[in-house]
Structure formats: structure tokens, C-alpha cells
Assembly symmetry: C2
Homo-oligomer: 429 residues x 2
């Protein structure tokens, strides 16, 4: 079954808002085993909207529209959808009660044009909107379906989950199941040169790379009739990928939004280990990413942002002579920060970061992008040198990723004795 | 002049990422006075991609593609674009030097498939990529143009600003000048209700709102023949907007990427004042946003992430009885954190944040979204209560914005006494 998403709204074409609806619908459709070949955005223009609906209808079994269900004159998605299927518009008593009920419940005065939101294509299924005035609808004809949904995310998401998802699964089609291998420490083109043939030749399952800053995610996707069929098809491909790329896979998950910080939090909590951070150039980014994970307070003791040298001395007890002799960005300072942090916090794993994020401050010996990480545990302290490039944000983000990954490896070593880089399967999202 | 955006990437159709590129391009095109009728997304499928390019080309003067310029087998946007214009692909020496230079500069090993990124349609203009390996290009034929840009936001935005915008304005034959009014403490709908007529009726200059989480940015754009013509056209509109919205405007800038943290840094440095932060639920986000501004080390002394209660006591000297009696999220604890921070750091402006970011930890008396801010200066300490809603990220981001804005107002008061921006913003709806 093939679907197409049609986003309606001049505000999208003006770049005033990001189209998060399309992303949400795309993700849910793939879960439902429905193929999405295209997504399009048009403005509130009758001619182009009608043309877009008809084009989409000619290519897909199901066309899902978002937006243009409001009360104003330029909200015409329902009318144009009905026209494309040759259905007349009728006032729906059911929808009228929904609209009136919404205004009564929220104590707002209803204007007459709000009743336009109760007009629907004849025979269409009305979709209740618990978070706004505009009901959605599903209209069918000759085996094709158009589903009109509202634009605001707080309205469309509950409506899709409550009304549309059941309709789609009932309509059938196979399931799609995806597994994601998250890779840190190997570039996209290297990963591709090692697994390119699997990407080109794979049919079921398929393999696709997705590159984000500092990370590569491999998506293994399988089509099947039941959830049970997925693992036997995915496992051999995962095994073959592991054989080729080695131990750069740090997590295996079915959640496309899985993050490095979540892996770190899960490893720390599983190992019952605590962590503390001392950040200079990253300025709290590592701590903030850790704290973004709910429940981290059991593992994250405290963090220090010691950007100025005075703070490195006063807060972490770094010897002024170390700073004077080797500089703030040096192996010695990174080690001293990590050791001072461990004295202060007593955490099992203490990470320090100091570097030159730029754009100023670089020299021939210490260019922008030079970053030193320090790690102090019960086994002592060690330091690592990074040579990063790019703008300030990129360098700080990559330095944070390297720091988080080092914490991850240390937590796994201290916890289960697994070697660094070994994957931890993740709980379902 | 009519443009169309074609986003290429199966990861978009799988719902793995949000299409922020399309929003950025749409916004910049509207600034340039170029009409955008449609945006479409297709996957890495040769047949559908070729068809999408040809359809777009039949409707628009300029087709801008994003994505599919990488080294991997499914990166085919350039090839399909060249095919649609009947241009042969050629290895570009200029591009090969760019790609090789990029790898040399960054000390990475280049794999053979990276050289695919040096193949371009004959006669196309190569667009340098300073933040990735894939150059972009502009190809023209019979008065139509296709512009191939990379997918990653870090690569496409600088490339568009440096290479594409000048090309478009040159093609359009006029200058575009924009001024941005940044607003904090007034919701989008209120701003629009106060200035909607100016948005609808303005022709030159035009007025458009951009809403990011917690902030509203008003863009005043004027088309003119020379830079000197812009201010006399923009000033009266800005004055009228100020008259209507009052003092919620915290910055006026010509940089669309201007941020709250930059305003804070500039205010602190201008006033010669220092700042320190103590963060619980925001977990270092405020410090990290401050450190993202180059040169902040003269003003930012130190930051503490005291997420656990033990850290609030040990690091900031919060009295355990205060935590026991009033709880970690309370006016008393926020004040004690700010006062302890001032004792530790001696900074002129000391900000503390403690709150319940969720999803767990809320109670009837203290629901998720309750956040207390504390500010301690030479004049003493005060606290503020925020009631935010949304998920963990949203609450932490909004709390950080409120904290940064309070620092901004304090710095401006301590500095020139100038008082731009409402020091008591209401949480954005």
C-alpha cells in the first residue's frame, strides 16, 4: 500500500514553521508498513492544491493531507479533496455537535464561520479533534482514500494515533520493522566502503546509512507479515555488518531517535556507577546532554564549567604552574582537571574537557580544534588528544560526543567488564 | 521568479529526521522576493527522483535540491539533475582539488568513492563546501537553473548564504536588506494580533514573524537598489512595531542567526560585569549556551551543574534543612543556590535554576514544568517562579531562555542602566 503526504499551508512555503507533521506521519506510516514515496507542500491556493491532490491520488492509494481545515476562507483542503473524488459537501450533524461542544467546553464564543468546520464530503468518516475546533475526516472512493488532518502538531498527533493508525492497519499491508546500529568512530564513507554491497544488493532486509554529526546510523529494515518474522531476517545482516565494521557499533536499537547520552545513562545505571564532568570548551554541553536523559540523577553527581583559567585553579585545584607551563589546553591540564574533579566529587568516572573551539585563540602549535580529554577513575587518570575541525559549534559538539563515548566505554568496563565499543542492546522505545 | 524546493532522502520519507533545510531555504527565498509554490520530498530512487526533478523544472525557473551529494551509492541527485537538463557528467578538477584539499586539511583518509563528489554536470558552477566533503553546484540551461545543495544543515546554510543568495539576488536584479527584531516574553499569537495588519498590508518593506521555542523574531525586509535606501524604509516600520508591542524587543539585528546568549554576552562585556551559573534541571544548558559565544571567557567565571541534592549542599552550601523543608524545587532552594553561588564565585550576576523537567517527579503541588530561578547580585537575591509545559527538552530549553533573559536584563541594568526588554516575562504559551 502506497501513501503520499500533502502538507497544506502558505506558512510552510514562507519558511515560518518547520514541517514536523510530515516527519511524524512518515515515521508512523513506515511503522504501519505503508510505503511513502513522496511528500509535498503547497500553499492555500485552490488551483495548485487541487492539482496536487489529484496528482497524489493518481500515484498513491492513500493521500494524507495536513492543514487547511480551519474556519477561514483560505482553509479549503476538505473542499478540494471532496472535489477530486467527486463528492458533494454536506453539513455533518455529528461534526457540528463536535464543534459546538468544543466551544462550549472551552467557553469561547463561536462565530458562524466556525460551522464551516462541520461541512464534510458526503459519506466521509469524521475524526474527532480533542485539542482544537477542526475535526478531520477520511473519505474513500474506488479503493482510494483521502485523509484530511489538521495542521497543529498538538491536534494532529493524537488524532492520528486514535483514529488514523487503526484505520491504516485495518486496511492491511505488511509490517515494516527497522533496527538501527549506531556507530561512533568511523566515517560515513568508510562505513559505506565496507558495507556498500549490502546497501546496493539488499532487498529484504534493506540496509541504509544515515550520517549525523560525528555519528553514522545504519538502518536495517525488513518487511514481514508478523513481528515475529523480523528478528530471523535482521539478525544475520547485523552479524555480517559487525564482522565487517568491527566494534565501532556502540548501540543496537529500534528507536531511530536513540542518542549517545542515552547509551551513557543506561550503561552508568546498569553498572551502578557515578559520573562527574569538568568542562572548559564544551561549557556544560556534556552535562546538559546527560541531564537530558530522565532518571540520570542516580548516576550524575555534579558538573563544573571551568572556562576561565581562574576557575580551573579555584574550582578544580589545577596548579597555576601547570597552566602557566603547559597552557590551559594541554595533556597536563586535562589530567589535572580530571584528578581535581575526582577529588572534589568522588565520582567513579570523572571526565574533563579542555580545548580551543575557535574562531580565535588558535596558534601554529595549538590550532583551533585541538581538544584534550581527561578521564580519572579508581584506576588513575589518562588523557586523549583530539584534532577536530569546523566552526565553534561543530568542535564543541564533537568534543562532547567523544567525551560521552569515553564515559560510555568506561562505564561498560567498570560495569560488566565488556570491552570498549562493545554494543549494548537497548530497550524498545 | 518562481522556485521549487526538492528534498532528496529516504531518511526524510522514513521520518528519521525533520526537514529543517526546506524551512531555511523557504525563508531565505521569501526574503529574496522569490516565489515558492511547492516543496517536495522524494527518496533515493532514480526513477522517482528524475521524474520529480523534471516536474519541478516544468513549473519553476529555479529548482533547488537538498541532499544526495554524498559519496555513497544512493547519492544520485547530481546525476539525475544533469540528466534532466541533458548535461553530461564530467570530473571537475576544481572540485577534485576541493575534495582532496578537504581530506588533506583535516587529515582524514580519502576513499575512492569520495571522488564521485568531484563529478559535476558539464559547465556547472561549483559551490565550495567548507563544512563537508560534498561541493554543491549551480547548472543552467535555457533560462532554467538547478541548484544542488548538500543535506546537512551545517553544510547547506553557509553554502546557501555564501554562494546561492548572491546568485539569486543577482538573478533577481535587486538588493534585499532585512532587519530582525527579537522578542522574548510575548507569545506568537499576541505579537500577530498586534502587528497582523502590518504583515498583511506591507509590500516594501514586508513584515514576517518567525517563531522559535520561546521566542518570536520579526523580520523586516526591504527591496532596494542600493544599501543606503534601506534604513529610511525600515526605520519607520520598526518604530511603529515598537509602539505596538512595547519593550519586549530585546535585540535589533541584521543577523537572522542572532541568539539570546549573544545578547547576554554583549551586554555583560559592554557592562564589564561577570556571571556565574548554578543549574539543576537545565543541567548546564545555560552555561553551554553562554560558552557558545566566542570571547565570553572575560565575563563567564564558572558554572555548576548541581543536579543531585547532595551536590546542591556540598557544592553550593545549600542547607540540608532548606532542601528537606521546602524541597529541591522551591523559592528557598533557588535563593540558597544563587547566594551560595555568589559566595563561591564572587561573580557580579549569579543565576540559579531548579525545576521539575519531567516526565517523572511531578506532584499535585509541584507539577512537571514548575521551575524556580534565583538571581543574586550585589543588591541581594530574588527568585522567580515559572510554570512551563511540554516535554523534558521543551521545559529545559524554556527555563534556560528565561534564565538567560534575566541575566540579560540584570547586565543591562548594572551596565548602562539601559533597560531593554521586559525583565518580568510571562512564560510563552
Amino acid at each position: 500500500m502506497i501513501a503520499e503526504i500533502l502538507s497544506v499551508g502558505t506558512e510552510l512555503l514562507m519558511g515560518q514553521i518547520v514541517n514536523t507533521d510530515a516527519r511524524y506521519l512518515a515515521a508512523r506510516l513506515s511503522e504501519a508498513g505503508i510505503t511513502l514515496h513522496r511528500q509535498s507542500t503547497v500553499g492555500d491556493n485552490p488551483v495548485r492544491l487541487a492539482e496536487a491532490i489529484e496528482t497524489a491520488l493518481s500515484r498513491a492509494d492513500i493521500v494524507i493531507t495536513t492543514g487547511g481545515l480551519g474556519p477561514t476562507a483560505d482553509d479549503i483542503t476538505k473542499e478540494m479533496s471532496a472535489q477530486s473524488l467527486g463528492l458533494p459537501m454536506r453539513r455533518s450533524e455529528e461534526a457540528e455537535n463536535m464543534v459546538r461542544g468544543w466551544f462550549e467546553k472551552h467557553g469561547h464564543a463561536m462565530t458562524d464561520n466556525n460551522l464551516r468546520q462541520a461541512d464534510f464530503p458526503e459519506g466521509s468518516r469524521i475524526l474527532r479533534n480533542d485539542f482544537g475546533t477542526a475535526p478531520g475526516c477520511i473519505m474513500e472512493k474506488d479503493g482510494k482514500a483521502i485523509i484530511n488532518l489538521p495542521g497543529p502538531p498538538r491536534e494532529i498527533i493524537p488524532m492520528f494515533d486514535a483514529c488514523v493508525m487503526p484505520y491504516l492497519t485495518e486496511r492491511g499491508g505488511c509490517l515494516i520493522r527497522s533496527r538501527y546500529l549506531r556507530i561512533f568512530g568511523m566515517g560515513e564513507s568508510t562505513v559505506e566502503s565496507l558495507t556498500g554491497d549490502l546497501m546496493r544488493e539488499g532487498e529484504n532486509p534493506t540496509l541504509a546509512p544515515y550520517c549525523s554529526l560525528g555519528e553514522v546510523q545504519l538502518r536495517l529494515t525488513v518487511r514481514c507479515q508478523s513481528p515475529e518474522e523480523a528478528p530471523p531476517l535482521l539478525d544475520p545482516l547485523e552479524k555480517e555488518i559487525r564482522r565487517r565494521v568491527g566494534d565501532v557499533i556502540y548501540a543496537v536499537t529500534d528507536d531511530p531517535g536513540y542518542t549517545m547520552e542515552r547509551a551513557v545513562a543506561e550503561a552508568l545505571l546498569a553498572a551502578g556507577k557515578t559520573v562527574a564532568t569538568a568542562e572548559s570548551c564544551t561549557g556544560g554541553m556534556i552535562a546538559s546532554r546527560l541531564v537530558s536523559v530522565p532518571g540520570i540523577s542516580d548516576a550524575f553527581l555534579e558538573g563544573y564549567v571551568t572556562y576561565a583559567n581562574a576557575a580551573k585553579e579555584r574550582v578544580l585545584g589545577v596548579d597555576p604552574r601547570t597552566l602557566a607551563r603547559f597552557g590551559a589546553v594541554s595533556e597536563e591540564t586535562a589530567l589535572a582537571m580530571a584528578e581535581g574533579l575526582r577529588r572534589r566529587s568522588g565520582a567513579d568516572i570523572c571526565l574533563s574537557v579542555t580545548g580551543i573551539a575557535g574562531p580565535e585563540g588558535g596558534t601554529k602549535e595549538k590550532p583551533v580544534g585541538l581538544v584534550w580529554l581527561g578521564l580519572c577513575t579508581g584506576k588513575g587518570a589518562e588523557a586523549r588528544r583530539l584534532s577536530l575541525f569546523g566552526d565553534r559549534d561543530r568542535i564543541r559538539t564533537l568534543a562532547s560526543l567523544h567525551g560521552l563515548h569515553w564515559i560510555l566505554c568506561a562505564a561498560r568496563e567498570q560495569g560488566t567488564g565488556e570491552r570498549q565499543g562493545d554494543p549494548h542492546p537497548s530497550p524498545p522505545a
